[in-house]
């Protein structure tokens, strides 16, 4: 292949000029190179952020292994090049290429983008452009690859609707394979791109945005979505796996340092805690666990395949894994003496969590992190994350006493019901925790407060509420900065401008696509990176597009408002979210729904999966939904 050779020659001259050239060469252990010419369908999987961030993405890893297991398909990867590399690629007219065979992205049949967070949108447009592919779906004929996208952010697909041929909503394991099958049939028939889109629109969970037309009220609020193609479904229900599928074990081992160098094992999917701000907690239901046996064998095989020194056990709430103690004991005995670091994030605030961490604590010691999220009783009731201060302080004491010197505490500010008193209480609580630490181990004790700003996300009980104003956020951050000065304390915060960006991108409708496009054309990219000061570019883009950012960010939605994302069904019903919103207003707590079902709708939405596979273990109670609204007291 001459083209490959000439690209290699060009790269040899370019790569010495860029920072960390190892990002752009592939060749990692466990990367898969197939004979391009012999493969029927070629898929590029793209994570539109820097290699260092994207490499360890579990979603990409799962799909990469799934697709490459098929003999008729290949999957290769691409990431966003950093500024320096992008300039050189453009200067030498080198289109974005895959890391495995260095093929230009235009040569693939399907390009799948993962969009786990909204601040990747401009990067995605940039990558299409770097690939020399038109950014608008309607400017791409069948000579271009089919562009699909999935990931958490796509539960509100509208802001990116004009750029993506089809969204794959929900868990990707099966749906992408079904899209590939449909693509193969279509390709043999040699039909139009429209035919392809119609074919895949029939697959459950596929949303082809060009078949729908949004309409708006004169005041700018969303009115309805009109079906333009009768074959497309009215609503799109997310896809889930009834049973957690085979976990990946052939992790790509990077040849350079990246953010997470490790085996990641999903111990369960979903969460039953019902924290009202939590997007992941709402869209990833129902809760499904992997067996201990499967987790252990996944780690074993993973270690054999990779040689990694670190294992992360992933879930939204580790302490809630049914037999978590047994799991941890099993892991610590099986892998003792192997110079392995095992991390178990997202632990509940109780001394049991300290026991768990202590069992995993190998010779390499990290910090301890807890997420109380709120410091006042009132705010805890509003967000539905009840913890008692007593419990937090006694847990903190245990943590320090048993050898950790630094405790990280995560909090959130910015909920519309929050007062300055609630904010002050965060600082007061941090100081109390530090005092406990000093009592336990003296001046070595450190408390780091990570305070993020709340963004009301679609498909959560807070989708109706407004995002805080920048001045107000700054004021709250100033209060915390002043109060959290002093030895042993550290305070981290999020730039309010970044919060604004995340807010309009997550809450936008299809009109926002113009803003995204203009912002990208005017240079916005890497919006998740604080070192890129893109805020002014975005403000300019809003004004050029004739839209108001405040409309998306700071407007409280009326309780009957139709949302631009209502046609995307996460299984959790809007009526349930509404009840939960009203509960938050009346400070009503709701318990763990493993113990009592609050009829969120998930079991009804996926009842067919349970019927098809009666052995499926979900942690939803096997009861008729109980509609009694009972209030819980804060446990001690």
């Amino acid at each position: 292949m001459n083209r490959e050779k000439s690209l290699a020659n060009q790269l040899e001259r370019i790569l010495p000029l860029v920072e960390k050239p190892g990002r752009y060469v592939g060749g990692e252990y466990n990367s898969v190179i197939k004979n391009w010419e012999e493969i029927q369908t070629r898929i590029a999987l793209v994570f539109p952020d820097l290699y260092d961030i994207g490499l360890s993405n579990l979603g990409i890893q799962i799909l990469y292994e799934n697709i490459n297991q098929r003999e008729d398909c290949l999957a290769e990867r691409a990431y966003s090049p950093w500024q320096d590399m992008e300039e050189l690629l453009r200067k030498h007219n080198i289109p974005l290429y895959s890391l495995e065979t260095k093929s230009p992205l235009t040569d693939f049949d399907i390009i799948g983008f993962t969009l786990p967070y909204e601040t990747l949108y401009t990067n995605m447009l940039n990558l299409l452009n770097l690939s020399q592919i038109p950014i608008h779906s309607n400017n791409r004929g069948k000579e271009f690859p089919l562009i699909v996208a999935g990931g958490h952010a796509t539960y509100n697909p509208e802001p990116m609707a004009p750029f993506i041929d089809a969204f794959l909503i929900g868990e990707g394991e099966e749906i992408l394979i079904e899209v590939i099958d449909a693509y193969q049939v279509w390709k043999k028939e040699d039909l139009s791109k429209q035919d392809l889109l119609e074919k895949i629109a029939l697959i459950d969970g596929v949303y082809v945005p060009s078949f729908y037309e949004p309409h708006y009220h004169p005041d700018g609020t969303f009115h309805k979505l009109v079906l333009k193609n009768k074959k497309a479904p009215k609503t799109i229900t997310k896809r889930i796996m009834g049973r957690l599928p085979y976990a990946p074990t052939r992790f790509i081992v990077p040849s350079i340092g990246v953010v997470h160098n490790r085996i990641a094992v999903e111990i369960m999917r979903g969460c039953t805690r019902g924290c009202r701000f939590c997007h992941a907690g709402m869209i990833n239901r129902p809760i499904r666990e992997r067996t201990i046996k499967e987790i252990i064998s996944t780690i074993e095989t993973g270690l054999e395949n990779t040689g990694f020194e670190e294992v992360a056990l992933l879930s939204l709430s580790s302490s809630d894994y049914t037999n978590v103690l047994e799991l941890v004991e099993e892991i610590s005995t099986t892998f003792a003496g192997k110079n392995l670091t095992i991390s178990l994030p997202s632990l509940r605030i109780d001394s049991f969590s300290v026991d768990l961490m202590e069992k995993l604590k190998g010779s390499r010691q990290g910090g301890f992190t807890l997420a109380p999220e709120a410091a006042s009783e009132r705010m805890r009731k509003i967000i539905n994350k009840p913890i008692s201060e007593e419990m937090l302080l006694s847990t903190a004491y245990e943590i320090f006493k048993r050898g950790w010197h630094t405790l990280k505490l995560y909090f959130m500010i910015g909920h519309p019901s929050e007062t300055l008193e609630d904010v002050t209480e965060i600082a007061t609580l941090c100081k109390k925790v530090l005092a406990v630490g000093v009592k336990a181990i003296g001046r070595r004790a450190k408390v780091h407060a990570g305070v993020s700003t709340f963004v009301p996300k679609p498909h959560t009980p807070f989708q109706w509420v407004a995002c805080d104003q920048q001045e107000s956020i700054r004021q709250k951050q100033n209060i915390l900065r002043e109060a959290l000065k002093g030895p042993g304390l550290k305070f981290n915060w999020t730039d309010p401008k970044e919060t604004m960006m995340e807010a309009w991108l997550s809450r936008g409708d299809r009109r926002l696509a113009d803003v995204i496009e203009i912002a990208w054309r005017n240079g916005a990219k890497f919006d998740a990176w604080q070192d890129f000061k893109n805020y002014d570019i975005w403000m300019q883009a809003f004004s050029e597009a004739g839209l108001e950012s405040d409309f998306y960010v700071h407007r409280e939605r009326s309780i009957d408002e139709v949302f631009p994302w209502d046609h995307i069904i996460p299984g959790v019903r809007k009526s349930y979210l509404k009840t939960e919103y009203l509960n938050s207003l009346s400070l009503k707590l709701r318990g763990d729904c493993r113990e009592q079902c609050y009829a969120c709708g998930i079991t009804q939405a996926f009842n067919h999966l349970r019927e098809e596979d009666p052995g499926i273990v979900w942690k939803c109670p096997n009861l008729a939904p109980c509609r009694r609204k009972n209030e819980l007291s804060i446990p001690n």
Partner: protein, 215 residues
């Protein structure tokens, strides 16, 4: 009781962009994949006992890197090589493995010099290069500044010659000792050859117990 082995290996393909620190990691992981009994240091942060002879600058290829490993069990060299070969990433290949005395000094301190070949990615005038090499050789001292520090490159450059072959290339022998390491790209800069138009291959690392033919 630890057993010490010396591996000579080549570094090619994309691996040329893997830094020294990451090469260290690469070896640790390769040993772990191969299930070889790599020895670790004691203490709170156990580190694998791996010693590299001399760091190879990012982007350089190499036909002959040297690295020492300590194992907790004795292995025969053949099965060691077989196990490693199966577990190595693309771009790294083992040339030879030796068993060495555990008590030998650290590998870094044994390194005295390194030989490099420099190939050209663009056309360069042989005559001009020849002239600048001669001029460089005549100098008694070549003062340069690297990372804010002034040093004399000349005594670090033990030898340099132009090899007229198809294609033509440069061969240079540079001192490579702790605190006195000559860098090929510094020599190229003296010769007014932009480093991005070259491909530099380390051909040999010379250890103290080895003879240097032309000192």
């Amino acid at each position: 009781m630890n057993y010490r082995y010396r591996i000579n290996y080549s570094k090619n393909e994309g691996m040329r962009y893997t830094s020294n620190l990451d090469i260290h990691k690469m070896w640790e992981r390769t040993f772990r994949r191969a299930k070889l009994p790599l020895a670790y240091s004691q203490g709170f942060h156990p580190q694998p006992k791996i010693q590299q002879a001399s760091p190879l600058p990012l982007g350089f290829l190499s036909d002959s890197e040297i690295v020492d490993f300590f194992l907790t069990q004795e292995m025969d060299l053949g099965s060691l090589q077989t196990a490693l070969t199966k577990s190595l990433p693309a771009g790294i290949s083992v040339n030879s493995i030796l068993s060495v005395q555990t008590a030998e000094p650290a590998l870094q301190t044994q390194t005295i010099a390194a030989e490099y070949d420099v190939y050209f990615l663009e056309e360069f005038d042989e005559k001009i290069i020849r002239q600048s090499i001669q001029a460089l050789k005549k100098e008694a001292s070549v003062m340069r500044i690297r990372r804010g520090k002034s040093y004399d490159l000349r005594p670090l450059l033990l030898d340099i010659e132009i090899i007229v072959d198809e294609p033509m290339y440069l061969r240079m022998l540079l001192k490579s000792k702790d605190g006195a390491t000559g860098r090929p790209e510094e020599v190229l800069d003296e010769l007014k050859i932009p480093v991005q138009y070259t491909r530099i291959i380390r051909k040999k690392i010379i250890l103290a117990n080895e003879m240097i033919e032309n000192p």
